[in-house]
Structures are given as structure tokens and as C-alpha cells.
């Protein structure tokens, strides 16, 4: 069994529990053990880099140092925002002499820069697809709008995705799972991210364009790989619909939930009951054939 370092981040312990559940479910199918970093801390998110540039490197650096101590050279970071902060911290430590000396003093730990954060999409491509492609028995007979948002494709120096303006990584995964990935215009637009609480009105406006474009082009669901994108598209739907003439009910699902369904895992074991916008109609549309995990 392959073992890989796992940094769930705060969201996967709270608002994005279904992401954690479904990720672990597909990892079991791929025979990968996700080993949670010991006593990890929050990456600092937007708050740290908006207010204090040192904190913005030091907080994620402590997690990188913990992963090194545990002997991992790769850390799976499923949250795109956490990934961005951890990868940026590693980048700063490697490229900036100032941080190379300062950070170990701040975190009181040695850091060599040998533990590399990887996104959920890279994880799926590198560790999961080969192992599960023969087990994707429940072909997903539906249309999907693959939504990347910001931090999986940008900034360039942290992203592993090619074709930043029109990435196709998730589309290929959807295709393998038997689904149809639609062409649409908002796949790399921003959901409003960290303004969710303070300027919910802005999040409503930005996400309205996203859900409206996806459903008007015939998608049955929006596929995401970031808990910030998901919570804005899902939990903020009433605010979103204030900007639209009809009640938009297109569900937002995680790429890990999509793979879970294709593997025939029961929807509740993938956390579909935790969504605010129900995915029931969409799931009923799929031919079901569930297996025990």
C-alpha cells in the first residue's frame, strides 16, 4: 500500500466533510493510505497574506516541516486554497534567502524544502486512476461542467495545470467515469472566495454567473475540486438565486464524489446528504449499482 502525507486543512474538518469522506473512499479503492500530518495547523489562508507576509509563510511552513519529519516527500492538499499557501511557502523558502534563514527560527523547526504539496487533481492522476480504471463500472450518464476556479490554475509558478485559461484535466477524469464534460465559459472564473462572509452580495453575483452558465448549457452538475468554491456555490445558493430570474438548482459536487459514484459507492458514504443544494435528482438519473466500502 502506498502511503502519502495528508493535510486536510480546516475546511475538510468542517464545511467540506463530504470532500474528506469521498477522498478517503476513493483512496481506499486505489490502495493508498492518507497519513494525516501530526498536529497540523491552519495554513493562514487569505487572512494571513492580507495582513502579515511573514505569518503567511511561517504558518504553512510549520506543516511542511512536520511532513519532512514524518518522512514524506509528498503531501496531498485537497483544498485549493491551502495548496496555494503551502506551495507558495515552499516556493518562498526555496527562492528567497531571507526566508530560508528566518523561517526555521520562527517555527523552531528545521526545514529543508523536501516535502512537496500536491493538488487533488495531481493525486488522482498519479495515484488513483490507474488503480481504479477497471473498477469504474457505474458509468455516469450525465453532463458535467468542470469548474476549476482560481487557485488550481493560478498563479503559474504554483500550478501544475497546462492550458491555464481552458484546462482539461477534470474533463478527462469525467470522461473516464463515463460522463460528458460540457464546454462552458466560467471554468476558471473566481467564486468570490474569502469574501463569503463579509460581502456575501459579491459572492452571490459572481457565483450567479457560474451556475447560470453551467445550467443554461445543459450541465446536470458542476464538478469542483476546492472547498471554498463548493461552499460558495452550494451554501450560498439562496444569495446566488437573488441575482437570477429562476431558482437555480444545479448541484455542485466534488470530483472525488463523482469518482466515488462511478465506482458504485453509495451516495451517503460520499457525503451527498451534506449538501445544501440536493443532488438527489441528478443521482437518480444515474444508473445505480452500489457496492460496500
Amino acid at each position: 500500500m502506498t502511503k502519502i502525507g495528508y493535510f486536510p486543512g480546516c475546511s475538510l474538518n468542517g464545511t467540506a466533510k463530504e470532500y474528506d469522506l469521498s477522498l478517503k473512499a476513493i483512496a481506499r479503492f486505489a490502495d493508498v493510505e492518507l497519513v494525516e500530518l501530526n498536529d497540523w495547523n491552519c495554513c493562514g489562508a487569505t487572512a494571513a497574506h492580507s495582513l502579515n507576509s511573514t505569518l503567511a509563510v511561517a504558518l504553512p511552513a510549520r506543516n511542511l516541516a512536520i511532513a519532512e519529519r514524518m518522512g514524506f516527500d509528498e503531501i496531498l492538499v485537497p483544498c485549493a486554497a491551502c495548496y496555494s499557501r503551502l506551495a507558495q511557502a515552499l516556493y518562498e523558502i526555496k527562492s528567497d534567502e531571507k526566508y530560508r534563514t528566518k523561517i526555521p527560527q520562527l517555527i523552531e523547526m528545521e526545514i529543508k524544502g523536501t516535502a512537496n504539496p500536491i493538488t487533488v487533481l495531481d493525486f488522482i492522476n498519479k495515484y488513483v486512476l490507474d488503480k481504479i480504471k477497471d473498477k469504474l463500472t457505474n458509468k455516469l450518464n450525465a453532463k458535467f461542467a468542470c469548474y476549476y476556479g482560481c487557485l488550481l490554475t493560478r498563479p503559474e509558478h504554483l500550478s501544475t495545470i497546462e492550458r491555464r485559461e481552458d484546462p482539461l484535466v477534470m474533463e478527462q477524469i469525467v470522461k473516464l467515469a463515463g460522463g460528458i464534460a460540457i464546454d462552458w465559459a466560467f471554468k476558471v472564473e473566481c467564486c468570490g472566495a474569502g469574501l463569503s462572509v463579509v460581502r456575501t452580495d459579491i459572492v452571490g453575483k459572481l457565483c450567479a454567473k457560474i451556475v447560470d452558465d453551467a445550467s443554461s448549457r445543459g450541465a446536470d452538475a458542476i464538478v469542483v475540486a476546492c472547498p471554498m468554491c463548493h461552499s460558495n456555490l452550494d451554501m450560498r445558493r439562496s444569495e446566488i438565486n437573488k441575482n437570477l430570474s429562476t431558482d437555480n438548482k444545479i448541484p455542485a459536487i466534488y470530483i472525488t464524489q463523482l469518482l466515488g459514484l462511478a465506482l458504485g459507492i453509495e451516495p451517503n458514504k460520499l457525503g451527498f446528504d451534506k449538501h445544501f443544494v440536493p443532488a438527489d435528482n441528478f443521482i437518480q438519473k444515474l444508473q445505480k449499482q452500489t457496492v460496500e466500502v
Binding site: 480546516c10 468542517g14 466533510k17 487572512a47 497574506h49 495582513l51 505569518l55 510549520r62 498563479p155 472564473e189
Partner: protein, 192 residues
Amino acid sequence: METKSKIEPLAQPLKEKILNEINEQVMKCYQCGKCAAGCPLSGEMDYTPNQILRLLQIGEPTCDDEVLRSYGIWLCLTCDTCHSRCPQEVDFPHIMDFLRSEAIKRKKVHPKAKEIIAFHRSFLESIEKTGRLSEVGLIASYKLKTFNLLQDVDLAPKMFAKGKLEIFPHRIKGRQAIARIFEKAMKEAHND
């Protein structure tokens, strides 16, 4: 001459500080406007990204002041669309981070940005105390700071019912280490 001693030394233009401290060149911008066209929040901002860059390029104290007091610098989502499309590779989000901390240092924060800062501070307080983000703690602290007591009250029970809200925060073992990271980082920002 007597008058000379009364003239205040000119403050260093922000564009020079930006070059010296974060190594970004605002002078590279030639105003193509791709940043403003792609920015999801141009329409909400008082100055669009290219306008901020133009004000910085001029380098006059009044222009720098206008930038630091703008609301737009607080709305920036760091989505990086501007940076990724910039033909001159100006890392505008990096400049925005610098401008935000500079606005706080010089006490020139736009009045409407106080809520955004209160949110960031509540967020950091949660990490400083527990090592992780406690959503309940964050919202409670933010509400107390801004008196937006009724905001999102409809969301909490639903989140709780779906098992998405932890009432008691998880406190990591390394809380002391986290507190020391905060102490040192804050001291450093203060001494700048």
C-alpha cells in the same frame, strides 16, 4: 535658509518601496487594461487594477495616498487573473498584499474596509488561540467586532444539522509554538 528647515522630507514614493521591499516594478505597466478587463471585481472597485498602477507610477504623495485609501485594494480576491494575463508579468496581487499592509501601518484604511479587516483579524485570532480555524469562533468574534449580529443566523442551524459545524474548537498540541510564531511575526511587522 530658515524656510528650508520647515520643509518636511518627502516620503519615499510607494513605487520605490514596492521595488525595494517586494521586488515588483510598477513602471513595467503600459496600461493595456487586460487586468481590469479580467478582474471579477473591477465593477465594484473605486480604482481598477490598471488605475492603481497608474497612480503608483505617477509617484506623487497625493496619488500614493489615494491608492492607500482606496476600497478596491481590500476587495481584491487574489484570484490572480490579472497577473496571469499581464503581458508585462506584473504580479499585481503581490502588490495588493503590500498595499494592504501599508494602508494599515499608515492608518489610511478605507472606512468600508474595516469589516473586511475585522474578518481577517478574527480569522487570525482563531488560529493564534487554537492552531486551526474554528468556524464558530470566527463568526462569533467577527459579529462582536462589527455588530453584524444577525448575519448568517439562518445558515448555522442548517450547517449544524448536516454535521458541518463543530461547536467546540479542536485545539492543537502545538498551540504554544503557534503563539510564538504569531508573536515574532507581529513584532517584525511592527518594526518595519
